[in-house]
């Protein structure tokens, strides 16, 4: 190792320090660019994939005619062999147990599980 590196003068040590800090920033800045570009590519490819999946997916099927839809079935909530009153009770119990208002919960399907 040269004497200049082994025992650097004060000005050259200051220069080394400034240069070192600049190198760290330079390296991190380049890395930042790489990470941002990578992120943008990923986000756009995810969006494309999501759009392609949405386009390829068949239109949502109507409720099968042969499935029994109980009276009171509304919107997306499907009731299978469940009386609307029982369904309302189930929903109220779930809301109570979760300590959440009923209008913040989303029920998609209620089906009676029968003993075999």
């Amino acid at each position: 190792m040269s004497e200049a590196l082994l025992h650097p003068s004060v000005p050259s040590a200051a220069l080394m320090a400034v240069l070192g800090y600049a190198v760290v920033f330079f390296g991190i800045l380049l890395l930042l660019v790489v990470v941002i570009v990578m992120g943008k590519i990923m986000v756009s490819s995810q969006k494309k994939a999501a759009a392609a999946a949405a386009a390829a997916a068949p239109a949502p099927e109507a409720a099968p005619a042969d499935k029994p839809v109980a009276k009171g079935t509304a919107g997306e909530l499907m009731l299978h062999d469940v009386d609307p009153k029982d369904a309302a009770m189930v929903m109220a119990i779930v809301a109570h147990k979760l300590n959440k208002p009923l209008n913040e919960l989303r029920f998609r399907s209620i089906k009676e599980v029968k003993d075999k």
Binding site: V23, I28, V34, M42
Partner: protein, 407 residues
């Protein structure tokens, strides 16, 4: 057989007699220091996983006659000069093989430090434990990891002013990176004679981060800045997390090849974690391997705290410079945070800048605690993890720069 003569010889050859020999009192002081460090590790819980091992290594190496670690052997190894064994045999060129033949147990352990194996494996464990998601969600936080390396270079300059050589100053400066394995890695390469005090300073100050940082954070920010609530960051996909370690390894190592052992291992550990098919390896690296290496690293680093080397004015200077480095690194990160606060129109809480010093996840936790103190509804932890892990990369780059200049 003369019993008295035998007993006399046993007494004169015992370690107790070593305390009465020239300079033996220094060993007693070092044993007291080892006990003090054990107290800090066990009772005060200052980085106990490392400090207990370091303190015990210090205790063992300073017991006269233990022969577990040979300072003169490693000095000869570094200088490339002949080494004379206890049996009087002259070894012209010491190698790791001859160290294994002639050295004590802690000499053998120390080979892993000298070869840079232990710090790299610990980095692998750190990588396996680190979630780079917050950094990927908010890549700008990388800049805070760079800003917080300020203390490294200020302490380097300060060490030169205090009369240390260039390589020694570089090793002292890296304490400001707040990254123990990086400090050990660089010091072993550049100034192995200072390994003991530098390791002690680095780990002690890392443990003291909750005490060192908050006053600086308060001083460097206004109340209005401290209460800023940051928005939820975007969700990062699994694919991004898998690609990240591969890209960073290739990019940073190409930029600064001397960072290869640290960055390579850090990112390999992270890839084990994220790729989803190497859970067993990730678990091993995070737990079993890291624990084994920590034992060997800590005891062998402690063994370098030999009285004749440790008890010097240089140690006091290193302890002071280490504190300065930590404080200035925190300040650098906070300055970066303030700049980002201005540029973002007040959307970034500058407190997260303090997490730009590595010390994962302690520094991020401190940012969270200080933020919550001023705004009870503020959760800065995930936002602070970005600069925190960026600090690991930043300190590795700083070490790489210093190694390429002085190595």
């Amino acid at each position: 057989m003369n019993i008295l003569e035998t007993l006399g010889r046993l007494a004169s050859e015992s370690g107790f007699a070593g305390f009465l020999a020239a300079g033996g009192w220094k060993n007693l002081i070092m044993i007291a220091i080892a006990c003090g460090l054990l107290y800090l590790g066990i009772v005060k819980k200052f980085e106990p996983l490392l400090l207990v091992g370091i303190a015990f290594g210090c205790l063992l190496t300073n017991l006269p006659g233990s022969g577990l670690y040979h300072l003169d052997m490693w000095d000869a190894y570094v200088a490339g000069t002949p080494y004379i064994t206890a049996a009087g045999e002259v070894i012209e060129h010491l190698t790791f093989t001859t160290v294994m033949h002639e050295g004590g147990l802690l000499d053998v352990f120390y080979i892993g430090v000298k070869a840079g194996v232990y710090p790299s494996i610990i980095f692998m464990g750190v990588g396996a434990m680190t979630d780079f998601g917050p950094l990927l969600a908010n890549p700008k936080s990388l800049l805070l990891g760079a800003a917080a390396q300020l203390g490294v270079f200020v302490a380097f300059f300060g060490a030169i002013l205090l009369g240390f050589s260039g390589p020694q100053a570089a090793s002292i400066g890296i304490i400001g990176g707040a990254d123990g394995p990086t400090a050990i890695f660089l010091t072993t390469k550049l100034a192995p004679e200072l390994l003991g005090p530098i390791a002690i300073a680095a780990y002690s100050y890392m443990a003291l981060i909750p005490l060192i940082q908050p006053p600086i954070m308060k001083f460097m920010t206004t109340p209005a800045m401290r209460v800023v609530k940051m928005e939820q960051t975007r969700e990062v996909s699994k694919t991004e997390k898998i690609i990240f370690p591969i890209v960073v390894s290739a990019f940073v190592i190409l930029l600064l090849p001397s960072t290869a052992p640290l960055i390579g291992c850090l990112m390999l550990g992270n890839l084990f974690r994220e790729c989803g098919v190497t859970d067993r390896l990730s678990d091993t690296v995070q737990n079993a391997l890291m624990n084994i290496v920590t034992i060997m690293l800590a005891t062998s680093v402690g063994a370098t705290m030999v009285a004749e080397r440790f008890l010097s004015a240089d140690t006091i200077k290193i302890v002071i410079l280490g504190l300065v480095a930590f404080a200035i690194s925190t300040t650098g990160g906070l300055i970066g945070g303030r700049i980002m606060y201005r540029v973002s129109g007040g959307k970034i809480n500058p407190l997260i800048g303090s997490a730009g010093v590595s010390a994962v996840p302690m520094a991020a936790r401190v940012a969270q605690d200080v933020g919550r103190k001023y705004n009870k509804t503020n959760f800065l932890l995930m936002h602070a993890m970005g600069p925190n892990v960026a600090g690991v990369i930043g300190s590795a780059i700083a070490a790489g720069y210093l190694l390429s200049v002085f190595g």
